[in-house]
Symmetry: C2
Subunit: 184 residues, 2 copies
């Protein structure tokens, strides 16, 4: 029968009465809302998943998207983004359920690199699609034979997803960057 | 007759023999190559100016660029980028000539915000132009009636300018973020 693992807590160091014996200092990261393993972080992550999936669905259900390279690229980029955000959201849910902290520097570095790559890819794809959508609708006036509204919606969702990431970063910056707080 | 200003150095605090009088600590920023006011920073800045101006010139000398919104946007973005980079390069040259330090936190924040805005605008414009150029050349095969090579060159230069900024950021990150070093 499996049961939840119990993470043992170190016993407090023994003080033997002398003043010169100082217990060793332990270092842990400050609790910052919006970071992995917090409820705000999970909410932001779920917003990313929702917007990415809407963008992917709207673009992928358009009949003529495979004929344009930029639209195919958008589908690939938001597909990757949804998978990445979904897996991190699942890790966040797990961390919240078992009340374990995900705030360790190595993990946050991996998250930041992954977020940076997927976010840049999505932004680039959204810009390329926006350029083509504006070309079709404003410059060529060919909205009668193209699905301009669908292209615009998919692009807008990709941009909102990117802004959502920026908002997460801003929230983190506002509350201070990940800091090591010394706990005696 | 004007002459270069001499910046007076504070006299060292007088120690009057007692052990409990400690001179006040002064704080200055660490000297990091690639930051404003250093020769590497100036070189990176000049590369930005050169690539932006080439991109601007190539795109603006194409006869049909005003008919496409994304190309007009690229011209505006790299124009703004060249003005911004040129003014910062001139400030860097001045700082190097008079050997004054530009490494103060407020100035570096302004530089970082300005760089972030211009760089994001240039990247978005380059992505939009890349999307349209690929549409014209690969998807529609209309390079015979369009200046594909010029569009590609202008887009490539804008991307190189953006990578140049990334390189600058990486160099700064590699040598440590701006840190305050305590000088006794």
């Amino acid at each position: 029968m499996s049961r939840p693992a119990v993470h043992p807590v170190e016993p407090p160091p023994l003080i033997d009465g002398r003043n010169d014996v100082v217990p060793p200092r332990r270092v842990r990261m400050k609790d910052v809302q919006g970071m992995p393993g917090t409820s705000t972080g999970l909410a932001l992550r779920l917003c990313q998943v929702i917007f990415s999936v809407i963008s992917l669905t709207v673009m992928a259900t358009t009949s003529d998207f495979p004929s344009v390279t930029a639209f195919r690229y958008l589908v690939a980029a938001v597909g990757l983004q949804s998978l990445w955000s979904l897996s991190l959201a699942m890790i966040d849910v797990y961390a919240l359920c078992v009340k374990r902290s995900l705030r360790n520097p190595a993990l946050i570095t991996i998250y930041a690199i992954g977020d940076g790559i997927t976010s840049t890819l999505t932004f680039a794809a959204a810009c390329a699609c926006a350029g083509i959508t504006v070309l079709i609708s404003n410059d060529l006036n060919r909205c009668d034979i193209n699905h301009c509204k669908r292209f615009m919606s998919a692009t807008a969702m990709a941009f909102i997803k990117w802004l959502n990431r920026l908002k997460g970063n801003y929230r983190r910056a506002e509350q201070g960057s990940p800091q090591l707080v010394k706990v005696t």
